[in-house]
Every structure is written in structure tokens, then in C-alpha cells.
């Protein structure tokens, strides 16, 4: 091998090693989207040279569940512990938020001066039942050449020591035995009835709205299926109410339901076949949930707001608020819902905000709200 070849080889080695290092530096300084997915969106450098950048970094750290790093970067961390900071975001009691991950966030500057700024942080949490939003308005202060966030901590609500008597009804079911003779009697499925139904055409497809009544004296576990029948009498599609319904109905309780048929058009539909299901289940009348201060807010940002209060003694881990909206003649206009991602503590109000489509908001003149609940270790 000639010296020239060896020199050329050495040069090649240097070039390859240098190129490798360069590629690694580039990939680290400006990570790909796939790589960022595993860092919580954070690159190697996270400058806090502007208020927005400081909030952006905080959002990245929350998304990566880097609680200590996020806490250490706060300007007012002396006012609370890291654990309180984490609980403020993830909930003090097991709830949807406890097991949620931050899917994405948005930063909106509201106001800025040389020494401080107001920045809105909109958080989109991914929970098992879908995305839930949360908004925090943050005060950001300058500390030397960088900015730090003052976290608006909301400390744990204090539930006073008390005894709440609970003596609500509970229904149990004894089914027929496997060895019973043919013809032996079994318990009857609860009688339920669809008391209202209306198909609506929306941009995303056809929506079937309705209300279902448990007209029996026992609790019913219910669901509703709908089949769109074409004008040629052939079925177009069958869909179910899924979670746009309260599945547990106590006697004489009414639930709204909403069934989506994506990509269907009402013009193709000749008729709709509704199939309600009901099953007898063991159930409890507890917990009782009060809904306070319900208010229909007009467009823009039309919504139904209010507060739910758990009147029982047990913690409700997840609450699902379903709103039914009517026009001035009492006709059903829309059904919408919201999951509360905070646990409902006894006698402690939690706010809800159900979005209403703006084009429908003008038609709505009244509403009815119900709440279904989930408590860990038991079903609804």
C-alpha cells in the first residue's frame, strides 16, 4: 500500500468520523419529530430568553412528566412543594387527570413589559375518554437574562371532617339458577322507552338525537343502537350511542343520547330503526349529584356552564355531564357532554363547561343536565 493511499485513507477516516459527529450534533440540536416524541418535545437547548420560551419550556417539561425540572424552574417555588405542584396538575385524588398525559399545549402571550409578562398556557390532556382542555394564565417574571414562570397554584380543597349518612337504596339481582326447570320464571328486563328522537344533518354526517326513559321501578343498564335505512329499504349503517348516553338509569330517570353516523347524508335516509337495549343490573342510588348555577351562554363561545356538587360521602373519580338542549317549543335541538377530569369530593363544587355548536346556540332556549359517575372500585 502506497503512502499516498494511506494518507487518502486517513483523510477518509477523518471525514467519516467528522461527518458522523456532525450528523449526531445536527440530530441533537435539531431533533426530528420522531425523536422529539420521546423527549417530551424538548431539544438539548431550552432557552428561556423570552416569556413565551419560558412557558414553552415549562409545557415541554410537563409533557415529559419532568416534574422536578419544571418545579425547579418556577419563580415562586418557595410557596409550595414539588408534590403540591404535581398534584395541582394531576389531581390530588385519582381522576382522569391523574392518568392523563399532556398531548400538546399552546402558548398565547397576553401582555408583556420589560420585567414581567402574562402568558396563557392552554393544555390538552389525553385521557382514556378523550382530550380534555385546561387553561392557566401565567405570570412570567424576568430573572437576570432569563424569564421564570410564577405558577398559579390551586391548593388541595379542604374537606371538613364530617359524617355524611348514606342510606340510599341499593338494588341487587338474583337470577334463576342453572338447574331450574324449563319454564321457571326469571326476572324481567327493565322496561325502557325512547321518548324523543330526531335526526339532524351536520357537516360531519348524520346525528341521531333522542331521550330514553326508564319507565320501570328497577334500575336499567341501557344503550341505544340506530340503523339508517335507505330509501331502497336497505340498511346504510348501524351505530350505537357509545358514551353519549348515561348507561345507568334509575327508575323514571331520563337520559339523552346522541348517535353519530359519519359521512352519511340525510337525503339518502328513508327511515331510522331505533333499538334500545336494557339489562337489569345491581345498582345504587348513591351518589346524588347536584348541578348548580347552570347557565346557557350565548354565542360566540356558546356553552352551558355550571357546577356539580357531590352530595354523598364518597369520592367520585370521574363525572360525565350530559346536556340536553331544547328550542322554545320544547323540541330537542342538541346533545353535548363533558368529562370532568377532576375528582368530585363531597360537597365540593367542580365547574363544567359544555361547548355548544354556534349555529345551534341561537335555537336553544332551555336545557336539562344529568351527570353519570364512576368511582374507582365500583362502576356507575
Amino acid at each position: 500500500m502506497s503512502d499516498g493511499s494511506e494518507n487518502g485513507g486517513a483523510m477518509l477516516a477523518v471525514v467519516l468520523i467528522a461527518a458522523t459527529i456532525a450528523f449526531v450534533v445536527i440530530g441533537t440540536m435539531w431533533p426530528t419529530k420522531a425523536a422529539l416524541a420521546y423527549t417530551g418535545g424538548q431539544g438539548l437547548t431550552s432557552s428561556s430568553s423570552t416569556p413565551e420560551a419560558a412557558v414553552q419550556n415549562l409545557g415541554d417539561e410537563i409533557r415529559a412528566s419532568a416534574w422536578q425540572k419544571a418545579y425547579d424552574g418556577l419563580a415562586n417555588k418557595a410557596q409550595f412543594t414539588e408534590q403540591e405542584f404535581e398534584h395541582d396538575l394531576k389531581g390530588y385524588y385519582p381522576s382522569l387527570r391523574t392518568y392523563a398525559t399532556l398531548d400538546r399545549f399552546e402558548v398565547f402571550p397576553l401582555h408583556a413589559s420589560d420585567s414581567d409578562a402574562e402568558v396563557r398556557l392552554k393544555l390538552y390532556w389525553s385521557s382514556v375518554v378523550g382530550i380534555s382542555e385546561g387553561t392557566r394564565d401565567l405570570h412570567v417574571v424576568r430573572a437576570g437574562d432569563r424569564w421564570q414562570v410564577e405558577w398559579p397554584i390551586v391548593k388541595k380543597p379542604v374537606v371538613p371532617p364530617q359524617v355524611i349518612p348514606v342510606n340510599y337504596l341499593r338494588w341487587d339481582v338474583i337470577y334463576r339458577g342453572a338447574g331450574d326447570d324449563w319454564g321457571a320464571q326469571d326476572v324481567e328486563a327493565p322496561h325502557v322507552r325512547i321518548v324523543d328522537m330526531r335526526p339532524v344533518e351536520r357537516a360531519e354526517g348524520v346525528v341521531i338525537l333522542g331521550e330514553l326513559l326508564n319507565e320501570d321501578v328497577v334500575p336499567a343498564y341501557v344503550s341505544v343502537n340506530a340503523t339508517l335505512i335507505g330509501k331502497n329499504q336497505q340498511p346504510i349503517a348501524t351505530e350505537g350511542s357509545f358514551d353519549k348516553i348515561s348507561h345507568l338509569l334509575l327508575p323514571k330517570q331520563v337520559t339523552p343520547f346522541l348517535i353519530n353516523f359519519p359521512n352519511a347524508t340525510l337525503a339518502d335516509v328513508g327511515s331510522v330503526r331505533m333499538t334500545p337495549f336494557s339489562t337489569l343490573v345491581p345498582a345504587s342510588a348513591d351518589p346524588v349529584i347536584e348541578i348548580d348555577n347552570e347557565k346557557l351562554n350565548p354565542a360566540p363561545d356558546a356553552s352551558l356552564t355550571g357546577q356539580v356538587i357531590n352530595q354523598s360521602g364518597q369520592v367520585v373519580n370521574v363525572a360525565h355531564v350530559l346536556g340536553t338542549f331544547y328550542d322554545s317549543t320544547g323540541h330537542l335541538v342538541w346533545v353535548a357532554d363533558e368529562y370532568l377530569d377532576r375528582a368530585l369530593l363531597p360537597q365540593t363544587p367542580e365547574s363544567f363547561n359544555i361547548h355548544i355548536p354556534e349555529d345551534l346556540a341561537r335555537q336553544i332556549s332551555s336545557e336539562r343536565t344529568i351527570v353519570s359517575t364512576y368511582s374507582s372500585g365500583g362502576s356507575v
Binding site: 340510599y168 326469571d186 321501578v217 330517570q253 349529584i289 355550571g306 352530595q311
Partner: protein, 289 residues
């Protein structure tokens, strides 16, 4: 012998026997035998033979001496239906038909009563169907009177008597005006079968609430909730209180407890409070301090 193979073998043997031997002249069969009773078959000729009695549910094989009577003790044939009798002797076979009828005396009833729970005062809301069986679980096809009786705890009773045709009888009855567990009894001869029909109150009737101040809240309570026949609506039934104040509203779904639904709601001067249960509306109160 009550195995599927035995049934299959018997069926095939009977069918083949019927095809080959159109008529028997060495066999004398009873025209009809009651299920479970003893019977005999006469044979003609001499020597030894084998007698097969094959039906859908049973096959019997018996060695016989030709010219003598073959005795079958009580309980030999218990499934009602048509049997083929084949006599095989010296390589020849002859066959005949034997009908086994169900016993005429009922031994058990299968009683289907629907529904198990229904509102009061519903015309023909209760149906009962009875199938009459003998001691060997054969459907008793002979006409037999079946009586139905629906009695409420208060003692009032509805009765019907229906003649069972081909083993089945059915009737429809009204639910009574009083809630409670009614006994629905079907009886044939001295055999009876009982079902319980829960008669439950109807929708609330004349739902009414009262309100009184309780600190900064208003305590709302319904009068005891009854249906239109005066039956107490069951505890656990949901009663909805709605308070409307200006453009805000508060709602609570409260289950009845000891016939009464009670709740505390914010006391807003001028608020309108309504009460409802299901699709039934109650009274309305305008709250003025």
C-alpha cells in the same frame, strides 16, 4: 339403551323392517299401549326368535319363544310415539306397528308466566301458558281442564279455566289496581305450579312539593309520591328538582326515600322551582323570601 346410537339403530331397523315386511301375520300387537304400562305381544309358530321394539327414543330387544306370549313389564316403554316391532326368526323377519300413548293423568306442569313485573291496572297484561306432562315427561295430548288463578295479597282473585289442547293451555289476565306480589297459579287435576307476578305502581300522580327556608338555602320536599291508584311509588325512583333564577338554572336528580324526595337548593329570591319525575310534571313554586 337410550343412547343416540341405540335410537339411530332402532330407527334404521324399523325403517328397513317396514320396507321389507309390509304386513305381519306371525305377530299380534296391541292397538295402543299407555306409556309405562305393561303389555304383551303374541307370536305364532315354533322355535326361538328375537323381538325388536324400536321407536325414536327407545329400543328393546327380547328373545322369545315363538308361539308364546312375550310379556313386557310396566315401565318398559315410556316414551310416547310410534314404534316398529320386528320379529326375527330363522333368518326371516316380520314387523308391525305399535303406538304408545301418553298417560292421561298429568304429573307435572311447565308454566310460563309473563311478565314477571308490570304496572298495575293493565288489561290482559299478564299471560300464562301451561304445558301438561305425564309422569314420563310425555306431553298429555288428551283434553284436560287447566285452571288459572291470579290472586293479590289483598285476597282478590281472577280465575279462568281453559281446556288444554294437545297438551297446551294459555290465558291472559289483567293486572290489579294494587301493587304487590301476586300469586299466579296454574292447576290441572291436583298438580299445581305457582309463579309470582310483581305488580308495581304506575307513574306518579299529582306530584307535589313544598318549600321552606333553611339558612341560605331552600329545603324542598315532595309529599309522599303516589300513583293514580294511591300506591306508593317505589323508593329509588328519580325525582328531578329544577330551580330557575334569571338565566341560570340548578338541577338535582333525587331518588325517593320513604316515599319522599327531599333536597336543599340555593335560595334565590324570585326563583322558580319545578318538580318532575320521568315525563310527569309536578307543581311549580316561586320562591320569595
Amino acid at each position: 339403551m337410550r343412547t343416540p346410537w341405540a335410537i339411530l339403530l332402532g330407527g334404521v331397523a324399523g325403517f328397513v323392517g317396514q320396507l321389507i315386511f309390509a304386513q305381519s301375520n306371525q305377530l299380534t300387537l296391541p292397538a295402543m299401549v299407555e306409556a309405562g304400562s305393561a303389555f304383551s305381544i303374541e307370536t305364532a309358530g315354533s322355535g326361538q326368535g328375537t323381538l325388536y321394539v324400536a321407536g325414536l327414543g327407545q329400543v328393546i330387544r327380547k328373545d322369545v319363544e315363538l308361539g308364546k306370549t312375550a310379556w313386557f313389564p310396566a315401565g318398559s316403554l315410556y316414551d310416547a310415539g310410534r314404534y316398529v316391532v320386528i320379529l326375527e326368526a330363522s333368518g326371516n323377519s316380520e314387523s308391525g306397528i305399535l303406538d304408545v300413548a301418553p298417560q292421561t293423568k298429568p304429573a307435572s306442569l311447565s308454566f310460563l308466566a309473563r311478565p314477571s313485573r308490570l304496572p298495575i291496572a293493565l288489561h290482559n297484561g299478564i299471560t300464562g301458558a301451561v304445558y301438561v306432562f305425564d309422569a314420563y315427561k310425555n306431553l298429555v295430548t288428551a283434553p284436560t281442564p287447566v285452571s288459572f288463578a291470579l290472586s293479590s295479597p289483598s285476597g282478590a282473585a281472577q280465575t279462568r279455566t281453559v281446556t288444554a289442547k294437545d297438551g297446551a293451555a294459555w290465558t291472559a289476565m289483567d293486572s290489579t289496581a294494587k301493587q304487590g306480589a301476586d300469586k299466579f297459579v296454574a292447576e290441572d287435576d291436583d298438580i299445581a305450579s305457582t309463579r309470582v307476578i310483581g305488580q308495581v305502581p304506575g307513574d306518579p300522580c299529582g306530584l307535589k312539593m313544598t318549600a321552606k327556608p333553611d339558612g341560605d338555602k331552600v329545603a324542598l320536599a315532595t309529599d309522599p309520591v303516589r300513583d293514580c291508584s294511591g300506591n306508593a311509588v317505589p323508593d329509588g325512583t328519580i325525582v328531578t328538582f329544577t330551580e330557575t333564577y334569571g338565566d341560570t338554572q340548578s338541577t338535582v336528580d333525587v331518588p325517593l326515600k320513604r316515599d319522599i324526595a327531599a333536597v336543599e337548593m340555593p335560595a334565590h329570591n324570585g326563583a322558580t322551582i319545578t318538580v318532575a319525575s320521568g315525563v310527569i310534571l309536578g307543581n311549580q313554586i316561586r320562591w320569595e323570601k
